[in-house]
């Protein structure tokens, strides 16, 4: 089988690189590029349904069209038997004909395992479960979602390089705010595979806010309502000191413009008493349903006419009011998600300063109306809602590529959940708190728990809870070769670093020996938006329980350490320094502590620890005297003073 070379094609159309006289763009004052050194940078909206590429030209953010003048590239990839790859409209056209090899909505699989995706029984793909990320069996072999996404990105890159007349310096690629490390890493890997240098991954709602220039607007809370083809996301952002912080995300991964088409489609079936249609007729009716829906955004009624394969003529008139009634509960579902997002962010609708509309489906007047009513203000909608995310990403890319003067600050993102490590007793020590701006690096010193301990296990966790068991485990690694020392005297510096894309690397270094270990965190399984929301909610709900649990674990850890120290001391010096009665007294205090140690009464443990401390005060004093004497033995006083 010979794979056809796709280099030099866009959407299957051959092109020729024209040896052209350079076309120049207007630069900002003082920032004209030297010849052949244009810092061409683009923003890419890698969407579930459609993808776009945009750039800033002549100071204006513009979406780049393909040779047919189309801005939207359907996020559909088809692997044909003979080895060729089709992307976009061409692939979409063959979707019903070749469903196994035509991958749609691959974004849903990025960085996800089979069990993360949930019910796959109604998807036409042949899944292969692989550790970390699922894979898809196609006519040309097993493909990972990363490879499929890379095909989409390659087409966008070719389109951009043709449109800009040169090679790209890099791109800003947008991802949903709730994407976790695994999903972000998968997106970066796809870009790399497509030969794109990722300047930064940017949250989609943040990109939309930038497109509207909200990064230069007054500080405050903004909401982004994103109703795409098949997904709905709402994000609550807070802008302060030029940083967008994601306060809350919510949504429905199975709600989008397609559901509205489906309502019209069902209405057509009912009106015409149709049933058991062929796949082709279903597609025909759905296409007409969608066209009708789109017309109703501009007109108060529309005629839907179609001819089915059996010759039946469909000819119905749908009014806007009828359409609104049949789809009202879909709109209500989005409003409920808005309510939940605000509740998570602990805000009221009145506290929201501005609302940004994203996604083609937000053109529907009853959606504009419902969102406007909910927030008590008109949403921002003067930019094309299909393009707004790409436009914002392009603006950010332009800044990062250095095409803006240096007084323009760089926009930052924040870490959605705290990052920390496990300490003794299964407790979490947070090293980078949530909502820290990225990139970010923080270090903290830890020490050994036992005498002569030469290795330390470092367990990296993510979450807001106090106990490791309630947080998400990201990675584990070991620092070995710590010189044997008394417990508590080693200095182990653990450094957490989160790069501009939100990816974490952790290193640990022992100060005396310089021994070092590190890990780049690429978690094999991702967190969904629901999980992040749940984890955040639980952390507030369980704040008091967690505090008590922490107190208990700390007390237990301290008690364990004390018991061990006393035991060692008794074995070394017990008979030499203590009479039998005292030894018995200390032993019984130890037993008393052991008896309450595994209970859940942290006060009882505390009392028993105090009792044992008291019982051993005299013993500790004697041991100290003994070791001082031992140290001084054989030395003259003058030597010590000298």
């Amino acid at each position: 089988m010979v794979a056809l070379s796709r280099k030099g094609t866009q959407n299957g159309l051959p092109y020729q690189r024209i040896n052209q006289m350079a076309l120049l763009q207007i630069a900002e004052p003082g920032l004209s590029a030297a010849p052949h050194q244009h810092r061409l940078a683009v923003g890419i909206d890698l969407g579930t349904t459609n993808s776009l590429v945009a750039t800033v030209r002549n100071g204006v953010s513009t979406v780049l069209n393909d040779a047919h003048g189309r801005a939207l590239l359907p996020s559909v990839v088809r692997y044909a038997e003979e080895g060729s790859v089709q992307v976009g409209e061409d692939a979409q056209a063959l979707q019903s004909q070749d469903p196994h090899n035509t991958i749609v909505s691959v974004k849903r699989f990025m960085g996800r395992g089979l069990k993360d995706v949930g019910d796959v029984s109604n998807l036409p793909y042949r899944f292969v479960d692989a550790p970390g990320m699922l894979q898809l069996r196609t006519a040309v072999g097993v493909k990972s979602p990363v490879e499929v996404s890379a095909e989409i990105l390659k087409v966008l890159r070719e389109r951009a390089e043709l449109s800009l007349g040169g090679e790209l310096v890099g791109a800003v690629i947008t991802v949903p705010a709730y994407f976790d490390d695994a999903q972000r890493q998968a997106t970066k890997d796809a870009a790399k595979l497509a030969g794109i240098n990722v300047l930064r991954l940017l949250n989609e709602p943040t990109a939309a806010a930038i497109a509207y220039g909200l990064d230069n607007a007054a500080e405050g809370v903004y909401a982004v309502y994103d109703l795409g083809g098949g997904t709905f996301d709402v994000s609550i952002l807070r802008l302060s000191k030029g940083v967008f912080e994601v306060l809350a995300t919510n949504g429905d991964s199975a709600l989008g413009g397609d559901d509205f088409d489906h309502r019209v489609y069902c209405w057509l079936l009912e009106k015409n008493e149709l049933s058991a249609l062929s796949a082709q007729d279903i597609r025909t009716l759905l296409t007409h349903a969608r066209a009708g829906k789109e017309l109703l955004s501009e007109h108060s009624e529309t005629k839907i006419t179609a001819v089915l394969s059996g010759g039946e003529l469909i000819d119905n008139t749908l009014t806007r009011d009828e359409f609104h009634v049949m789809s009202q509960n879909l709109v209500q579902r989005t409003v409920q998600a808005l309510r939940r997002a605000l509740r998570d962010a602990k805000l009221t609708a009145q506290e929201v300063k501005g609302v940004v509309m994203v996604g083609g489906a937000t053109r529907m007047p009853h959606i504009q109306q419902a969102v406007g009513d909910f927030f008590g203000q008109n949403p921002l909608n003067n930019l094309d809602p299909d393009k707004v995310v790409a436009l914002g990403a392009a603006i950010q890319a332009n800044v990062l590529a250095g095409n803006r003067s240096s007084d323009d600050w760089l926009l930052l993102d924040v870490i959605p959940l705290s990052l920390g490590i496990e300490t003794m007793g299964g407790l979490v020590e947070k090293i980078i708190p949530r909502n820290s701006t990225i990139p970010s690096a923080r270090a903290q010193e830890f020490t050994t728990y036992k005498d002569g301990q030469t290795a330390m296990s470092i367990h990296v966790v993510q979450g807001e809870r106090e106990l490791v068991s309630d947080c998400r485990s990201l990675a584990k690694f070991e620092l070995r070769g710590i010189p044997a020392m008394v417990a508590g005297s080693a200095h182990i510096r653990v450094t957490f670093q989160v790069d501009a894309d939100g990816l974490l690397s952790v290193s640990a270094r022992e100060a005396v020996s310089g021994t070092e270990a590190n890990i780049v965190v690429k978690p094999s399984y991702g967190l969904s938006d629901e999980e992040i929301t749940r984890m955040l909610q639980e952390s507030t709900q369980h704040a008091r329980d967690d505090m008590l649990a922490r107190a208990l674990r700390e007390q237990q850890t301290e008690a364990g350490q004390l018991l061990e120290a006393v035991e060692n001391a008794l074995q070394q010096d017990g008979d030499a320094l203590l009479d039998a009665a005292t030894q018995v007294r200390i032993r019984s205090s130890m037993d008393a502590l052991r008896a309450v140690l595994t209970g859940s009464e942290h006060q009882a443990i505390k009392r028993a620890v105090e009792a044992l401390n008291l019982a051993t005060t005299d013993f500790a004093q004697r041991r100290m005297d003994k070791s001082v004497k031992h140290a001084l033995a054989g030395h003259k006083l003058s030597e010590l003073e000298g």
Binding site: Q20, L24, P29
Partner: protein
């Protein structure tokens, strides 16, 4: 002495300036760099320098510094589309030789 813009180029510049929200006009010039000696400079202008020569063509103010003018005097700026790419084209009567890409030139 003049620098001019075609009506199409002027329309685009007016549009870009309006969207940018500030700027007094277009700055055109040359500098010594590039593979063939000189390179064009094309920027938004936020202020007029005392050394600037000022032309108005099709409603657009064009600023040129005095050193640059001899290299580009009589030049016409056009806005064209070539394939998917679009941008400004410099029709400069002073050019004797340019590099393959046309980004830099000799007079």
């Amino acid at each position: 002495m003049s620098i001019s813009l075609t009506e199409n180029a002027a329309k685009h510049v007016r549009n870009f300036l309006a969207k940018r929200g500030k700027g007094v006009g277009l700055r055109v010039g040359v500098r010594t760099s590039g593979c063939s000696g000189m390179a064009y400079k094309l920027e938004f202008a936020d202020a007029v320098d005392c050394e600037d020569l000022q032309f108005t063509s099709n409603g657009v103010v064009v600023l040129v510094d005095q050193q640059s003018l001899p290299y580009i005097d009589g030049m016409e700026l056009d806005y064209t589309r070539e394939g998917l790419n679009e941008g400004f084209k410099f029709n400069n009567p002073n050019v004797k030789d340019s590099c393959g890409c046309g980004e830099s030139f000799k007079v």
